[in-house]
C-alpha cells in the first residue's frame, strides 16, 4: 500500500546513503519483510514467536486491544466501585448476568483477559526496548556519519561563497555547530567531525540523541510505573472509620469499620497513633445550599509524643506517619439515651445517621439489644431533619443542612434484633424479620417526634427515649501506599521522556567547502554547500541550516 511518511526519511536518516525506502531497521513481522520460516524445532519456533511478540505491529494490536478491553468497565457496573449495582444488575438479568459474571465483566480491570493483554503488552515492551537501548548506548558513543558525496536528495539545502579558504570555512562551521543554544552556550549542540577530502573540506554534525533517549526513558518509565503500582497494591492498606465529634479512635485494624489490605501487608506496620475529632465546620451557600467548605479539627497523638492539632479538609488530607487521612463524608450522629421498661439505661450513645440528600435528611437505626430481664429488644428507625419544616399533618421535610431546628422522626419496633444469629448485620439496617412495629389503637404505626433535650415514652410501655444532643461525625478514610512516591516519579519520568521524544529535534547537518571552479566570478572563491536531514517532519530544519551558514560566514569574516 501507499505510504507517505515517515519511512523514506527515517530510513534515509538511519543510513543516508541507502536508497530511500529500503528497510534498514529491524522490524520483523512487517508485510514487506518476508518472514523467514523458522527452522523446525521448538527453539526456532520460540524465537519466531518472540520476534512476533516484540514487533511493532503486535504492539499496535495489543494497544488497540487494551483500549477496547477497557470499555466494558464503563458499560457494566463494577464490583470494585459499587457492589450493590452489580447485585441489582444480576437480579435484573437472570440469564445473561451470571454469564457476564463468569467472564469477568463485573471485575473487568482485574479479569484474566484484561490482565493478559496488558502483561503481554509489557512483555512486548521490554522485548522491544532492551535491544533498542543497547543499540542506542552504542550510538551515543558513535561519530556523525561522513559527509555524503552529493547533497541533492536532502530535504534542506543552502549555498554560499566566500573569499576565505575551504579549511577556514570548515573551521568556522565547526565552531558554529559546536556552540550551544544562545541561552545555554555551554551546552554543545552538535557533535562535529571535520574531514579533509583532498581538494575540499567538510564537516559532518549530528544532534538530538535526546530524542531516542527520551523515547527509551518513556517506555522504561512505563515499566517502572507498572511495577510500582503492583508493589503498592501488595503493600497498601486502607481503613474507613466514623468518628463522632468529641470522640477519638486509634490506628488499629479493629478500630476501623472496614479495612482492606494488600497481600504483603503486615498489621505491625500500622503506627498506633490516636486521633480525636474536636470539632467540625460545615459551610453551605445560603441560597443554593450547595456545600462550600468542610473542615475537621482534630488532635493527633503519636505514641510517646505531645498531642498536635491539625485540620483535615476535602482535597487536603492529613499526613500522619506516611499514611494519609482523608475527609470522605460527614453527617449528624444524634445522641440518644434509651431507658427500658424497668427504668434501666439500655442504650446511651451517639448514632451516626446517613445523609440522604443535599439538606442532610439523614436515615438511621438505633438498636437496643441490652434490655434488662426478659423484655423485648427495641429497634428505632427513622430520620433526622436538621431544620424541620412541617408541610402537613405527619409530613415534614428539612429545609437546610445546618441544624437550625433539628427533629428526629422515629418509628418503633420490638422483638428480636437478630444480633446473635451469627450473620453479620448492617448497622444502618434493621432486620425486621423477627420484629414487630408498634401501632396505636387504630392500627396506624406509631411515630415519635423528638427535639434535642426532649424525652418521650416508647409505646407499649417499652420505656423512654431521650434526645440528648446533636454532634456531627466525619467519615475518615486512612490510606497508606508506600509506593506512591515511585508511581509519581515514574509518571513524571514518562512525561519528560515523551516530551523529549516528540519535540527534541534530531538533525544532521553537513557543510562542504571547495575551491570554486567553473563559472566566471566564482574563480578563486570558495563555494560552500550545506545540507540537512532530520528525523520526522522538522519545521526548523531549513531555518537552522540557513542560520548555521550565515553564522559561519560571519565567523569567517571575524577570524580572517
Amino acid at each position: 500500500m501507499r505510504t507517505y511518511r515517515p519511512e523514506g526519511l527515517d530510513d534515509t536518516f538511519s543510513n543516508p546513503d541507502a536508497p530511500a525506502g529500503e528497510p534498514t531497521t529491524n522490524t520483523p513481522g512487517d508485510p514487506q519483510t518476508p518472514v523467514r520460516l523458522p527452522s523446525i524445532g521448538l527453539r526456532g519456533w520460540l524465537r519466531w514467536s518472540w520476534r512476533q511478540l516484540t514487533s511493532m505491529r503486535v504492539a499496535l494490536l495489543l494497544l488497540m486491544l487494551l483500549a477496547v478491553a477497557a470499555v466494558p468497565g464503563t458499560v457494566f457496573p463494577q464490583r470494585a466501585q459499587d457492589v450493590a449495582r452489580v447485585a441489582t444488575y444480576l437480579t435484573e438479568h437472570p440469564t445473561t448476568g451470571p454469564w457476564l459474571d463468569r467472564l469477568g465483566f463485573f471485575d473487568v480491570y482485574s479479569s484474566v483477559w484484561f490482565s493478559a493483554i496488558y502483561l503481554m503488552l509489557f512483555v512486548s515492551l521490554v522485548g522491544c526496548i532492551v535491544p533498542r537501548t543497547r543499540v542506542h548506548l552504542a550510538a551515543l558513543r558513535g561519530r556523525p556519519p561522513r559527509t555524503p558525496r552529493r547533497f541533492g536528495r536532502f530535504p534542506a539545502q543552502a549555498e554560499a561563497s566566500t573569499d576565505a579558504s575551504p579549511e577556514q570555512v570548515v573551521e568556522s562551521a565547526r565552531r558554529v555547530l559546536r556552540r550551544g543554544p544562545r541561552l545555554l552556550p555551554w551546552m554543545a549542540s552538535y557533535r562535529v567531525d571535520v574531514h579533509d577530502e583532498g581538494g575540499g573540506w567538510s564537516v559532518s554534525a549530528e544532534r538530538g540523541y535526546l530524542r531516542e533517549t527520551g523515547n527509551l526513558v518513556f517506555h522504561l518509565a512505563l515499566v517502572g510505573l507498572l511495577v510500582s503500582i503492583a508493589a503498592g497494591q501488595m503493600l497498601h492498606y486502607r481503613g474507613q472509620a466514623i468518628v463522632v465529634q468529641g470522640r477519638g479512635m486509634a490506628n488499629a485494624v479493629l478500630e476501623y469499620d472496614t479495612f482492606e489490605q494488600g497481600t504483603a501487608f503486615r498489621p505491625e506496620s500500622l503506627t498506633p497513633f490516636t486521633l480525636r475529632l474536636d470539632s467540625f465546620d460545615a459551610r453551605f451557600d445560603p441560597e443554593s445550599l450547595e456545600p462550600r467548605d468542610f473542615t475537621a479539627h482534630v488532635t493527633v497523638t503519636d505514641p510517646g509524643e505531645q498531642p498536635q492539632d491539625a485540620t483535615i479538609k476535602v482535597n487536603h488530607p492529613l499526613g500522619v506517619d506516611g499514611a494519609k487521612i482523608y475527609l470522605q463524608g460527614n453527617g449528624y450522629a444524634p445522641e440518644l439515651t434509651v431507658h427500658d421498661a424497668a427504668g434501666e439505661v439500655a442504650f446511651a450513645g451517639a448514632v451516626p445517621f446517613l445523609p440522604q440528600d443535599g439538606v442532610y435528611t439523614s436515615r438511621g437505626v438505633v438498636k437496643v439489644p441490652d434490655v434488662s430481664g426478659d423484655q423485648e429488644q427495641v429497634g428505632l428507625v427513622g430520620y433526622l431533619l436538621p431544620t424541620a419544616v412541617q408541610l402537613g399533618e405527619n409530613l415534614w421535610r428539612s429545609s437546610n443542612p445546618q441544624p437550625q431546628d433539628p427533629l428526629l422522626v422515629l418509628s418503633v419496633w420490638s422483638g428480636n434484633l437478630g444480633l446473635d444469629t451469627g450473620v453479620p448485620q448492617n448497622v444502618y439496617q434493621l432486620d425486621e424479620s423477627r420484629m414487630e412495629q408498634a401501632v396505636d389503637e387504630d392500627g396506624a404505626p406509631v411515630t415519635l417526634y423528638l427535639r434535642p433535650g426532649e424525652t418521650v415514652e416508647l409505646p407499649d410501655g417499652l420505656g423512654t427515649v431521650t434526645f440528648d444532643g446533636l454532634p456531627r461525625y466525619v467519615a475518615l478514610d486512612l490510606r497508606h501506599d508506600p509506593a506512591l512516591t515511585w508511581v509519581l516519579v515514574f509518571a513524571l519520568l514518562a512525561f519528560a521522556g515523551l516530551a523529549a521524544s516528540l519535540f527534541a529535534p534530531r538533525r544532521r547537518v553537513w557543510v562542504r567547502a571547495v575551491p570554486g571552479a567553473g563559472p566566471a566570478g566564482e574563480q578563486g572563491r570558495t563555494v560552500i554547500t550545506a545540507a540537512g536531514l532530520a528525523r520526522g517532519d522538522d519545521v526548523g530544519l531549513q531555518p537552522e541550516l540557513d542560520r548555521v551558514l550565515a553564522a559561519t560566514l560571519v565567523d569567517v569574516e571575524e577570524t580572517t
Binding site: 507517505y4 519483510t33 504492539a59 470499555v71 468497565g73 463494577q78 470494585a80 503500582i229 516528540l502
Partner: protein, 351 residues
Amino acid sequence: MNNLGDLSTLLVWAAATAFTVALIAYAVDLARLADNAQRRAADVPVPVAVGADGAPDDRVDVPVVAESAVLGSAAQVAPGRSARAEGIARSTTYLGLALLFAGIVLRGFAAGHWPTSNMYEFALVGTFVAVLVLAIVQRRRVIAFLGVVVMSIAVLLLVLALNVFFVQAEALRPALQNYWLVIHVGVAITATGVFTVAFAAAVLQLLRDARETGRTRLGSPWRRADGLRRTFSGLAVTGRHFTWLEQVPDARRLEALSFRLNAVGFVLWTLTLIGGAIWAEHAWGRYWGWDPKEVGTFVAWVVYAAYLHARTTRGWSGRRAAYFVMVGYAVVIANFTIVNLVVTGKHSYAF
C-alpha cells in the same frame, strides 16, 4: 455578580454569531475554490505554483528543492481563492476569539474561580482553544476546509453549551476547590481543542489522499446496489465536486500537520492523565479507580499512543494512521459528552 454572568453569556452569544459568519465565509471560500478548480482543472495538474496570485504575504521565496513537508511555509498558492471571503473569515475568527475570551474571563469573575468547573465552561474554553489553534495554523494561509470543519464544531459546541449545558456561575463545591482544577481541567480542555484541529486536518488528509490515489467506494461496482452508487456518484471524492481538493496541501503535508498537532495534544493529554491522578489522590484518596471518566481518558490516551505507533509501523502509516486519529477524537468527544451525561461516576458532579 449575576450582571457579570449575564454579560458573559451575551458575549458568548456574540462570539457564536461571529463564528457563524466565519463559518459561512470559509464555506464560500471553499465553494469558490471548488468552482475555480473545476474551471481550471485542465491547466492545474499539480498544486504547486509559486506566487500565482493572491495576497502579498503569499509570496514566499522558497527554493523548490528545499521544499519541506511544512505547511504554511508552503510555496504553493491555491488559485481561485476568494480574497474577500478569506478576509471576512479571518477577521470574524479573530473577533469571535476576542469576544469569547472576554466572555470566559467575565465568567471567571462572576463565579469567583477559574472558569473550568462544569460542562458549560469546559465547552467555552475548549472552543476557544480549538479556534485559537486554527488561527495559529492559518496565520499565513487560510485552509478553508480546516476552517469549515473547526468552525462547524465550534459553533455547534457553543450553541449546545448555551442551550443545554448552561448553568449559572457560582462558587465551587469543596471537592473542586483545588489548583488542580486549573491544571488538570485546563490542560484537558486545551488538549481537546488541539485534537479538534488535528482531527480536521486528518479528515482533509483522508479526502485528499483518496483523491490523489483515485480511491473511492463509489467508483467500484457495488453489484446489487449499483443503482445507489450511480445516484451518489456525483459525491465521489474523485468526482468534480471535490476538485477543490487539488488546491489543498497534499496528503503528506496534511499528515505532517495532523501529526504535529496530535503530538502536542498527546503530551497535553498525558499531563491531563497524570494531573487527574494526582488530584484524585488528594480528593478521593486513590490515584486511580477506574471511574468511567478515568477509563475514557485512558482509552483515548491508548488510542493516540497506538496512532503514534501506527505512524512508524510499515504498512500502517499514512492513510491508516489517520483512522486512528478519527477513533481517538471520537473517544475524546465521547468522554466529554456521553460519560458526563449518561454514565454515573465520580465526575458526574462536574456537570
